[in-house]
């Protein structure tokens, strides 16, 4: 079988996903131009249907705002995946990360700039602890990490809700959240007078991408993690501490999710939350990592893509396109990547024609398949 690059497969999947969305819109009897317009507006703020409408930054910033947490959770899932682990515990790790950040943001007095950094570190540590539990159980007790992760999600949900009510100052007006974080802890908006909650937390995502790339591709630690991920027995045989790698990888993966939770609390909400259900950022991370091929640049790009599909939801609805269309596109993309075989088949069909042509022309050189 020919091998196609991950990038190519992802691009085809994305293309087909959008095409599918357009077809559905047409079949549903809605105006597909509106879909196009909503997507363009979500990226640039420019409304092609109403060129006179003033263009503002708010759409673009909202897009980026949505991309930040799912890029971080994508890094989390990707990091574990490279070590051969499936971190489906992102939800719990986000919750504990956010709650830890809120606790530091509410209870500790620190100067500005230092304060959010300490909050972020607290969030990362809490996430790491939450990831460490399935990691250690997997490494030393051979217990399936997926099961433990799912249980840790629910433990996280109830534990953070209890902790917040018991230990943090609750807002008496609603009794459903904490009071606002201390001014010093909040990650401020990047553009103060644009009505988007896009905040300095985006720097965390960018640093996260660089750190992910550096650890994975450049360090001996990343080398041994990748070896463990590809062939655990082989890595063990080469004398690597496979168990330690597994536990550490889940911890780091958990830390990425913890950061995502902290960024949401510090940048977007500005208060500690008492959640009764998951926000699904962790699950979104699975899609992001999958489409991004679990590497740093890929995760950045797919984080932006999924962020766009999410931020487009509002514009879609305002342009009379059901928001489910964007969910549909996401689903198609994920399905296609999960069943890569279909995409490979498509590509082969396409290349097959090219092959035959080359033979008839008696060309010496083969095509450029990888």
């Amino acid at each position: 079988m020919k091998k196609h690059s991950q990038l190519k497969i992802s691009l085809v999947a994305v293309g087909v996903g959008f095409l599918f969305a357009f077809l559905v819109v047409i079949v549903a009897g809605r105006n597909p131009l509106n879909l196009l317009a909503a997507i363009i507006k979500s990226i640039s703020g420019f409304n092609i249907l109403r060129p006179n409408e003033p263009v503002t930054l708010v759409n673009t910033l909202n897009w980026l705002k949505y991309a930040v947490p799912i890029t971080l959770t994508g890094l989390s899932v990707g990091f574990a995946y490279r070590t051969g682990l499936f971190n489906i515990g992102g939800e719990g790790q986000i919750l504990v990360g956010g709650t830890a950040a809120a606790a530091v943001g509410l209870l500790v007095d620190l100067p500005p700039i230092i304060h959010p950094i300490v909050c972020l570190v607290a969030g990362a540590l809490a996430g790491a602890v939450w990831g460490m539990v399935p990691g250690i159980l997997k490494a030393y007790r051979k217990i399936n990490e997926v099961v433990i992760c799912i249980m840790m999600n629910y433990i996280g949900l109830y534990a953070t809700s209890w902790f917040t009510r018991a230990c943090l100052p609750i807002d008496p007006a609603t009794n459903a959240r904490t009071i606002d974080l201390k001014e010093t802890a909040v990650l401020g908006k990047v553009f103060e007078n644009v009505p988007s909650l896009f905040n300095w937390g985006f720097l965390v995502a960018i640093i996260g991408i660089v750190v992910f790339w550096f650890i994975m591709e450049k360090t001996t630690f990343g080398y041994s993690l990748r070896a463990t991920g590809f062939n655990m027995e082989g890595a063990r045989f080469a004398g690597m501490k496979v168990e330690k790698n597994v536990a550490l990888s889940m911890m780091i993966s958990g830390a990425f999710c913890g950061l995502a939770g902290a960024v949401l609390i510090l940048g977007e909400f500005g208060y500690g939350r008492i959640q009764t259900s998951f926000d699904n950022f962790g699950f979104d991370g699975i899609s992001v990592a999958l489409v991004g091929g679990s590497n740093a640049i890929g995760i950045l790009l797919s984080g932006l893509l999924f962020g766009l599909l999410k931020s487009a939801s509002s514009n879609l609805q305002m342009m009379n396109i059901p928001k489910e269309v964007s969910e549909l596109a996401q689903a198609v993309i994920i399905y296609l990547i999960a069943i890569q075989y279909v995409v490979i088949l498509l590509l082969d069909k396409f290349h097959g024609k090219k092959d035959k042509k080359l033979i008839s022309e008696n060309t010496e050189k083969g095509d450029d398949q990888l």
Binding site: I26, V58, K65, A173, T174, V194, L197
Partner: protein, 347 residues
């Protein structure tokens, strides 16, 4: 592949042009936007009801849905601000229901001080600062008093001494339901036992069902739920028990939930009555006020006296004598002989 693309593009262009030619952009009509919370537009509760109120006015005014007025569904809490700002500057009035919107409304109003907005169930925003935000609140304690009377009367009639209450979450607003209900029950019989459960969730039918099951097992004859979507579980538990021959009742909240309690062949319902909270009226009034130029910011309070809270006119399951007792209580509150406290603790 290419062919499909071409066909798709061609189709897109035709439909697009057709759609464009049909509409004109410069209508002078008033426009409205509605943002749901994470419950969605068909939540059989808050979002749905307030949207229906807004819609009722728009239809009366002859406006076109999706052009002059439309809604946007929020998936997550972090969608609130983007969804509100999406409408901001483009619609004359934005309506959002639920105290969860408090922060998001404030954020939007900070950026769009001229934007008229209606938020339901919030009264904590600074009225001097947010002059274009109308905060609509309801005297839920008054309505809850009425259903408390109904629950206690029903229990007495059946020779029972226990009723139940399920709350979706404890907060200042929510506690008004509890306060009013207690006062209503005790006004009938101070020795009545009231079971209390907090499910801490507005959207888990399962939790609501479990709490109701627990209370019925503990002897509750009527349960009043103030738990949004979770309360649907309590209603279905009651319906299931009635179908199995048990004699229990449930009281709905926000809207007339009689429909949701139907069981068997659909001619009977387990819902005794419902505590109506006319969020639709609030949305309707605000929409109308904007069109007529009389819209004002600040807190607007809807009480039992002006029809903001109450019970439905038709309650097929309620015996006449119970209804009489409820009407009596209604009149007493209306003419001021009885005052219902927002915060009540039984001595």
């Amino acid at each position: 592949m290419k062919k499909i693309l071409k066909v798709a593009l061609a189709a897109m262009m035709t439909v697009g042009l057709a759609a464009c030619s049909g509409t004109t952009d410069d209508t002078a009509s008033v426009t409205y936007g509605f943002v749901t919370d994470t419950g969605g537009i068909n939540d059989r509760s808050f979002n749905q009801t307030s949207w229906e109120g807004l819609k009722r006015y728009c239809e009366e005014a002859g406006l076109v849905e999706n052009q002059d007025y439309s809604y946007v569904i929020s998936e997550k809490e972090s969608d609130y601000v983007p969804n509100l700002t999406g409408f901001a500057g483009q619609r004359d009035l934005i309506v959002a229901a639920g105290y969860l919107f408090e922060g998001a409304i404030a954020e939007t109003a900070d950026q769009y001080p001229e934007q008229k907005m209606l938020i339901i169930d919030v009264e904590s925003l600074d009225v001097d600062k947010y002059t274009n935000v109308q905060q609509a609140v309801f005297n839920e304690h008054e309505g809850s008093y009425l259903v408390g009377v109904a629950a206690a009367k029903m229990a007495e009639k059946a020779g029972k001494d226990t009723v139940g209450f399920i709350i979706g979450m404890e907060s200042e607003t929510m506690n008004k339901f509890w306060a009013g209900y207690q006062q209503g029950v005790y006004s009938v019989n101070p020795n009545m036992t009231i079971l209390y459960d907090n499910v801490n969730d507005f959207s888990s039918q399962e939790k609501g069902k479990a709490a109701a099951s627990k209370q019925y097992d503990a002897g509750a004859y009527v349960i009043y739920h103030a738990a949004g979507g979770s309360g649907m579980g309590a209603i279905s538990e009651a319906a299931a028990r009635r179908e199995a021959g048990e004699d229990v009742w449930v009281i709905g909240v926000d809207t007339d939930q009689y429909e949701y309690g139907k069981y068997g062949d659909g001619t009977q319902s387990a819902v005794l009555t419902s505590m109506l909270k006319r969020v639709d009226t609030a949305a309707y009034n605000a929409a109308k006020a904007v069109a007529e130029g009389t819209f004002e910011g600040g807190i607007v309070r809807y009480s039992l006296a002006d029809g903001g809270v109450g019970i439905p006119d038709e309650n097929p399951n309620m015996p006449d004598d119970v209804r009489e007792a409820v009407d009596e209580a209604y009149n007493a509150i209306k003419d001021g002989t009885v005052t219902v406290s927002e915060t009540y603790v039984k001595e």
